[in-house]
């Protein structure tokens, strides 16, 4: 396979990565994209997956939104073991698990964020980022407070690292959320911004209802979830994006308060299930940018997940508890992209570098440019029925709502019958 050439770089590695409003408008006019995006605020073309003001008016939530939790076991003396995520918190009565949104109440486990929406926006699906999933469509994006790991570089820490009482939230039932999404012509609900695994019950019920009403659901997650709940959830989801933080246990332990191994397990399970998923790797200077590690990660992806799972290498900017490191040089991101392409990954993107040619999709067979992007916008899409118009190669991904909704998970190998 020929790596996509990156000769025509026009982004200054040391320049601010974010185009200003005028740059984007100028580009949109130049390429005729302005009309296509005029219904959405310009801010949505900038930045990464940051939280925008809520668009869901509704009753302000006082306190927490209690709901019976799934996936837990009773222990002695009223204690509970949560088996939703690999952390397996053992939680005594009146206490909460690590994520801060699941509480033991008299020996019964409860979610405290069922319908407690703290962020809601209509984002381009590219902002998740999902590049091979209904490109150019809006995703109704929501979050609740809480997360089951703690990344020291989290850009949404003001919701992910807080408890539900500490984040202003609106109570939105699954029915109301799906109706809102339908009335705004969004084909997809994205569970995103914080960590959807911790609002599993709400996501699960909403995704099931949405599917019945012709709306897909994508989970934007760290992949820190156990196999059983993941498989059950994927009966309702239509796509997944996983933040693959690094390829070292040390990084996961020191920088994210988590572990790599369960994430690898999740990726293999997703592959087995057959759901569409993409990977994002935020590259932080000196912490996870070692070329050897990137090479090993890419080789692991090809070997265990196949060459068709897209990888997005994105730029870090200082935030939350990592403010002493510089923004990732664009050259580093380009090097990561090349390493992944060399390892055999077919679709490798650069992220947080708007207007970089590495944002575009090129046919893995003939290298023809298929989708041109600027930031989160689609400037042009030349694919025909999910195929390259030049060489007719099928491009991996989900290119129509029909195929999104038609997805059915493959059974676990251990559950499958003979043959």
């Amino acid at each position: 396979m020929t790596p996509t050439p990156l000769a025509s770089l026009f982004v200054d590695p040391d320049a601010d990565p974010s185009p200003n409003r005028r740059d984007v408008l100028r580009w949109c006019v130049a390429c005729g994209a302005a009309g296509a995006v005029s219904h959405l605020p310009i801010e949505m073309t900038l930045g990464q997956d940051v939280v925008e003001p809520a668009i869901l008016p509704g009753p302000k939530l006082e306190g927490v939104a209690r709901h019976k939790a799934l996936f837990w076991e009773e222990l002695e003396e009223g204690k509970i073991k949560c088996v939703l995520c690999p952390r397996e918190c053992e939680v005594a009565d009146v206490e909460r698990g690590y994520c801060g949104v699941r509480e033991n109440r008299g020996g019964a486990y409860q979610s405290l964020v069922y319908g407690a929406v703290c962020s809601a926006n209509i984002d381009p699906i590219e902002k998740k980022p999902l590049f091979h999933y209904l490109p150019g469509t809006p995703a109704f994006s929501i979050a609740t407070a809480g997360c089951n790991i703690e990344c020291k570089f989290c850009q949404n820490w003001k919701i992910s690292q807080y408890r539900p009482e500490q984040v202003p939230s609106t109570l939105v039932s699954p029915d109301r959320l799906v109706s809102n999404c339908a009335s705004r012509d969004c084909p997809t609900i994205a569970y995103t911004y914080s960590e959807p695994v911790i609002f599993y019950e709400y996501m699960h019920d909403t995704a099931a209802l949405a599917r019945q009403r012709g709306i897909g659901s994508v989970m934007i997650s760290n992949g820190y979830i156990q196999e059983k709940p993941l498989r059950q959830l994927c009966t309702h989801l239509t796509g997944v994006k996983i933040d693959f933080k690094a390829f070292s246990e040390r990084f996961y332990a020191d920088t994210c308060a988590g572990e790599l191994k369960p994430v690898l397990k999740t990726l293999e399970t997703l592959k087995e299930i057959g759901i569409w998923f993409e990977l994002v790797i935020l590259i932080i200077p000196t912490l996870n940018d070692d070329p050897k590690e990137i090479k090993e990660m890419s080789e692991w992806v090809v070997k265990h997940l196949g060459p068709d799972v897209p990888m997005h290498f994105t730029r870090f900017h200082p935030t939350y508890r990592i403010t002493n490191l510089p923004r990732t040089p664009v050259a580093t991101i380009e090097r990561c992209r090349k390493l992944a392409l060399d390892a055999g990954v077919r679709y490798v993107y650069v992220g947080n570098v708007p207007m970089h040619p590495g944002e575009n999709t090129y046919c893995h067979n003939c290298n023809h440019e298929l989708i041109r992007r600027v930031g989160f916008r689609i400037a042009s899409n030349k694919m025909v029925n999910g195929k390259c118009p030049k060489c007719k190669t099928s491009i991996p991904g989900v290119w129509s709502q029909e195929s999104a909704l038609a997805f059915k998970p493959r059974a676990a190998a251990s559950q499958a019958g003979p043959g």
Binding site: G63, A92, D93, V94, G97, R321
Partner: protein, 345 residues
Amino acid sequence: MSMSSTRRQFLARSGAAMAGLAGGVDLLASTASAVELANQADAGDPSLQQPIRPRVAIARDEILTRGRLTQHRDLLVKMLNASIQRVADTPTATEAWRLLFKPSDRVGIKVNTLGLSTQPAVVDAIVAGLRLADVPAENVVIWDRFDVELAQAGFTLNKSGRGVQCRGTDGDAAGSGYQATIESSGEIGSSFSRIVAEQVDALICVPVLKDHNLAGASLGMKNFYGAIHNPNKYHDHNCDPYIVDVVSHRFIRPKWKLTVCDATRAQYHAGPARHPGFAWPLGGLIVGTDFVAADAVATDLLESQRKTKGLKSLDEDKRPTKYIATAGARGLGVCDLRKIERIEV
């Protein structure tokens, strides 16, 4: 600055946090133990060069275990005053309170209302003591994490600005009770309650003597998990060293003047939730100004009770109170029971 030796001894016993009163020792930079600080303060006075043992008073009266605690307000005041007088080694309780608190102090009383809760009658006795030090009622705030938990524990919320205030950090608009910034201290990264960070100069910690399923014991130091927005992140490794990281922070350590551990109705197992099967009507208070020493003594009582009841020690139960040793090793106070003067009142 001249000081009587009694005052000097008391300040030394009172732990590192008290040293600020003794003449401006830089508490933030200091990692010296109470004993070391005592030696520094008294250098040159041969009679005071021996390490001074911090005092922890244990006041008990069986009457407290009968009926409702509110029926025994006068007795609680007497017991607390006698304890603080013994700890401070002053001729009167009033002098002890005045050694610790100035009339201009804004005093935060951190109670514990998660599970088995601090009794309001114990806090009433503390407020009465503060009045002896001429601290105006308006300068006193009783606080914990949530309004709702304070109310459930029997406290009357008061945000009027008149009289003793009582409110939870999470009491008003969601999130507004915490600072917007993340503070780093050791391994923790947390937003602190505005009450402890911005609104008080002095702290009195009023935990309950109770077992904790992860930390081993939930006492004075553990009680300050209620000052940060994300305590749920710091339960690994028996909460060690996170508890110490929290209390080492400049918002807490230099302000923490007194611990009054509510042992009127204690619990020796299955905490922190209330569990009647392990209720322990001790009818007591544990009072100290060296917060590490106070926790060490309280833990010792807890361990004795567990032994009496035929339960495993906290160590054997894989819930060692490692954080107390860590606090001692870091010089926050004295954790070695042999170096603590235990006074029965």
